[in-house]
Symmetry: C2
Subunit: 132 residues, 2 copies
Amino acid sequence: MIVSTRGRYALRMMAELAECGSSSLRALAAAQNVPYKYAESIMRSLVKAGFVESTRGKKGGYRLTRAPESYTLAEILGETETSLAATDCTGRKERDCPRAATCPSLPVWRALDETVCDFLSRYTLSDLMPKA
Amino acid sequence: MIVSTRGRYALRMMAELAECGSSSLRALAAAQNVPYKYAESIMRSLVKAGFVESTRGKKGGYRLTRAPESYTLAEILGETETSLAATDCTGRKERDCPRAATCPSLPVWRALDETVCDFLSRYTLSDLMPKA
DNA sequence: ATAAATTCCTATCTTTTCGATAGGAATTAT
DNA sequence: ATAATTCCTATCGAAAAGATAGGAATTTAT
């Protein structure tokens, strides 16, 4: 799995914000059918990443910080997914694989990573908005 | 993760067979540093898929059924990975997603699937053999 | 002031997937 | 017969993914 439920929820909620301007968590979660508390943890990470702004208290809510077409999917998923790496071999985890130096597969996995990343960089949030 | 440990083990053991012609499970697992019993279950699925032939009993072992360059990575991983789909949305699982008809993301995931599949179809087992 | 609606924070729970193992039956060369 | 092997079923344990709980902090409206 390249894109998990969490990542897709993030994209959908951001697309919703792109659509409606600003929204409370309650409304966002309801509109996109995301479990409330799960949505909350996702939105918090989007705020932390600077993709979204929040205001607290009554009448509070979330809004995008930039234009929808400026967010690439790669950028958003890079924050919300545990890893976008094609294999453990190219993730942060396996820094010290003893096979690395001579492994014939490693270059293939690196190329795959790049292919996926290129793909996800060619699409933006606005590609995920319901078409007018 | 697109390619899991199981899939990489499968590729490595098949590349080993490509290299050495034929081998027992014990030797294969040792050569490629794959846990014996795990290797066994992987080899069994490769036999079942017809990628590998086995002979039982003393002096038994495994060998490829075709030329190394005829196996694409897509083909092998298609058998050994639980799913190569980019998301649940494009896997067998979510046949009946109610959003499918109008979901703006779905075409993107389908295109991603195809991109990954194309990539994996451009490499073969012989690309994973230690270079001469 | 107080109440209501909201975001923020920490912790935990449950389910699923992945990696790996156990034990023994069936097969075959020697 | 025996030893070396593949085949089969079942299960275990750890990690990741999805989701939830409870309450503190903040802000608006009354």
